[in-house]
Each structure stands twice: as C-alpha cells, then as structure tokens.
C-alpha cells in the first residue's frame, strides 16, 4: 500500500485543528503514522489467538481523516487520475478498518464469557474492549444464554443447569504464530525449560503466542 501519498490535500496543521481535544502526544501524529498503527493493529489482531488491546483512539482519528479526505475530494475532477488513486486508497483504508473491527467481533462472539470474565479483573487502563465492544459482548452473552435457556436448559433436570462454567470457550494461547521483531529483544524465554533466545531487529520466528504476547503488547514485535 502506498501510504506515502494518501493524504496530500491535507497538511499537518489542518489536521491538528481537527483533533485539538486529543492529548499533546497525539496532536503531533501524522495521518500516515495513524494509518501505520491501524494497519499493524489489524495484522496483529488477525494473527493473534486472543483479543488484543482496543485502538479506539487511533481508529477515531483515522475515521475523521477519511471523512476529511472525502470532503476534500468532492472538489476534484472525477476523471482526474489522482481522484481515482485517492478513491482507491480510501476504499482500502475502509476495508482495513472494517476487517479489523469484524475480526474483533468474531473473537468476542466466540470467547464471549472468557473475555468478559477477564475484563472484570482488569484495571480501567488495561481494558481490552472499548466501551461499545463491552456492551456488545454483554448483550451477546445474554442473548445466547437466553436462547439456550428457552430451548433446552429449562427442560433439563435441576442439577444440569448450573454448569455454565463448563461451557466457557477459551482461546488456545499456545498456538504457534509468526512474529517479526521490531527491535532487538535480548533473552526471550522460549519453551518450558527456560531456554532463552535473542531476537534481532527484523528477524522472523515461529513461536507459541503466549511466550511473546508481552512483546506484541509493547510493540517490540509484530505478528505476520
């Protein structure tokens, strides 16, 4: 994807005016950087067995950016070559965002109970789901439970009902993933016998997810 030329009709100063309610750090971020972050988040999410940290802020910035670009493009000549290129780029960005959110929903629907239980133990800043996703997950869990009750569970003998615990679906965190190190990471513990490996920047590995999940979280490595 040619991120370089996605947002020429817009300078950084204009962008800052749009988002001056964001914190300082984010005001300085360029549209291209936002796109990079969203794309990385998308790739990580697609490859990771569990649900990752939500990226609502970045996504909102990106959405704002897309709306802005659409606005700017209204003035362009439809037959201009640049118009077609920009339009295509917009379609791609929209696909990435939709695909990213869809992927998260899919995980939420599959591991609903597990994710909700985990969220309860997390601090506010550590929450993996955005408030909207959390609401969705709760509604979904309730909906499925109600359906099971209506169709089957209510007709079963007493003892069989209180076993919702057994029905929790959990992701397999030890499934293998491909990763690429973004920076040098010394002595990563791999395997049960405390074997250690140094990852060099740019190197690629195949490894059980759980052993490197914190590297993904700290953005020292990404899933590919």
């Amino acid at each position: 994807m040619s991120e370089g030329d996605i947002i020429p009709p817009l300078s950084d100063t204009e962008q800052n005016e749009d988002f001056d309610d964001e914190v300082d750090e984010e005001e300085l971020i360029t549209a291209q950087k936002v796109l990079e972050i969203v794309e990385t988040a998308w790739k990580n999410e697609l490859c990771a067995p569990e649900i990752l940290q939500h990226q609502t802020d970045m996504l909102e910035l990106m959405l704002g950016q897309v709306a802005h670009m659409e606005e700017n493009m209204k003035d362009l000549d439809k037959n201009d070559f640049r118009f077609i290129v920009h339009q295509m780029e917009l379609e791609r960005i929209r696909y990435v965002m939709a695909s990213y959110l869809r992927c998260r929903l899919q995980k939420i629907e599959t591991y609903t109970r597990h994710i909700l239980n985990e969220e309860e133990t997390r601090e506010v800043a550590e929450k993996r789901l955005s408030p909207e996703e959390f609401k969705y997950a709760q509604e979904f869990a309730e909906n499925v439970e109600q359906y099971f009750q209506q169709v089957a569970l209510q007709y079963m003998p007493n003892m069989q009902r209180a076993e919702a615990e057994q029905r929790i679906v959990r992701p397999n965190l030890m499934s293998h993933v491909f990763i690429k190190a973004n920076v040098d990471v010394p002595s990563v513990v791999v395997g049960v016998d405390d074997e250690e490996v140094d990852l060099t920047a740019g190197s690629q590995h195949i490894i059980p997810y759980q052993l490197v999940s914190d590297l993904i979280y700290k953005n020292q490595a990404q899933l590919i």
Binding site: R94, Y95, A98, E132, Y136, Q146, Y147, V151, Q160
Partner: protein, 200 residues
C-alpha cells in the same frame, strides 16, 4: 436402526451429524429430535435419582459404576444437544451478515421461535454497535467484506430490479440480463443479495 444397537445419546449425536452434513443455508429446526433428547435426559436422570436413593440406604457398592455411567451419558447428551443449538446459532449469525436485518421468508420457516428472537436481538445489538463506532460516526461492517481490487466492477443483472440511484444522483435501470460497469462499494449489497452477479 435396530433397537438392540441403540446407545444412550445416539439421538443427540445424530442431531449434530445431520446438521453438520446438511448443505442448506440452515436446515429446519428438529423439534422432534430435541424433544427426544430432552426426554432421554430426563429418563436417565430419574433412573439415576432412584438408584442414588437406593445406594444411600443400602450402601450397595455394585450400583456405583452404573451411576457413573449414567452420569456420563447425561453429560454427553447435554453436550451434543447444546452443540447442535450452538452450531445453529452460528449459521443464524451468518444470515445477519449475508442478508441484512430481515430474514428471507423461505429461511424463516426453518427457524424456531427462540431462534427468531435470537436473530432479532443479535441484529439490533450489532446495528447499535456499528452505529456507535468512532464517536457516533458509525461504520457498516457488513460492507467491505473483501479487499478492494478495483473501484468499478462489471456486473450482470439476474432479475428485473428497476431503478437504482447512484450516490452522485445518476439513475440507472437494472433490467434482467443487462450488464453494467458500476462502483463496487455501492453495488456490493445487491451482489450479495443475488440481484447482480459479479462477472470478470
């Protein structure tokens, strides 16, 4: 199946297999099958209760393996039944993504009432989630299902649809067997509904 070969939980397992094998969008809800499984569960449970009572009064240890066996049969029945229901839910969810918030009439006849309720709640919840993304801007996640390859696609019209207005205000007339070159994003829904066919 000969009666002598019948085992506990056969019927429940049958439900799951039937569903797995069917190539329909969603096969009719097997009301009868589900009821039979529930009856079997109940019967086993009652038998077990009776014997458990017997066991605690007489202390007859020979009953113990039988109790355990029945309990396992109960668990299996329950598990198969819930699997059947859950697998159906997955297909029902897929309906929402494929056809939008309204179930086509011919499919609706295959669903039982709680399933229709589930679909409606699911649909509502998904819609309100999609509206709430990005501080109320909203994204339609059911669009953009495939990575975009080109802005315009060539489509053939499979049925008389009538007038269709594009975003820029241009009105085209979709007639059966006519071919058009249209913006992908705007006609994606029609393609999924089977009104247009993507060619080339």
């Amino acid at each position: 199946m000969a009666k002598s070969n019948k085992m506990f939980a056969d019927k429940a397992f049958e439900l799951v297999k039937e569903l797995e094998r069917s190539s329909q969008t969603i096969p009719p809800f097997d009301d009868d099958g589900v009821r039979q499984v529930l009856e079997e569960i109940k019967a086993i449970f009652e038998e077990n209760c009776a014997q458990a009572a017997n066991y605690s009064t007489s202390g007859d240890r020979t009953l113990w393996p039988l109790l355990n066996f029945r309990h396992a049969a109960l668990q299996r029945n329950k598990r198969c039944l819930l699997t059947y229901l859950y697998k159906r839910l997955l297909r029902i969810k897929a309906l929402r993504w494929e056809f939008g918030p309204i179930i086509p009439a011919d499919i609706k006849t295959s669903l039982c009432e709680p399933e229709v309720n589930f679909f409606n709640t699911y649909s509502k919840s998904l819609a309100s989630y999609m509206r709430s993304i990005g501080d109320g801007q909203g994204i339609d996640l059911t669009g953009d299902l495939r990575p975009p390859k080109s802005l315009y696609i060539e489509v053939r019209c499979l049925e008389d649809y009538g007038k269709f207005e594009l975003e820029d205000g241009e009105v085209i007339y979709l007639k059966k067997n006519s071919q058009h070159y249209l913006p992908r994003a705007q006609v994606e829904t029609l393609v999924r509904q089977g009104i247009l066919q993507h060619i080339a």
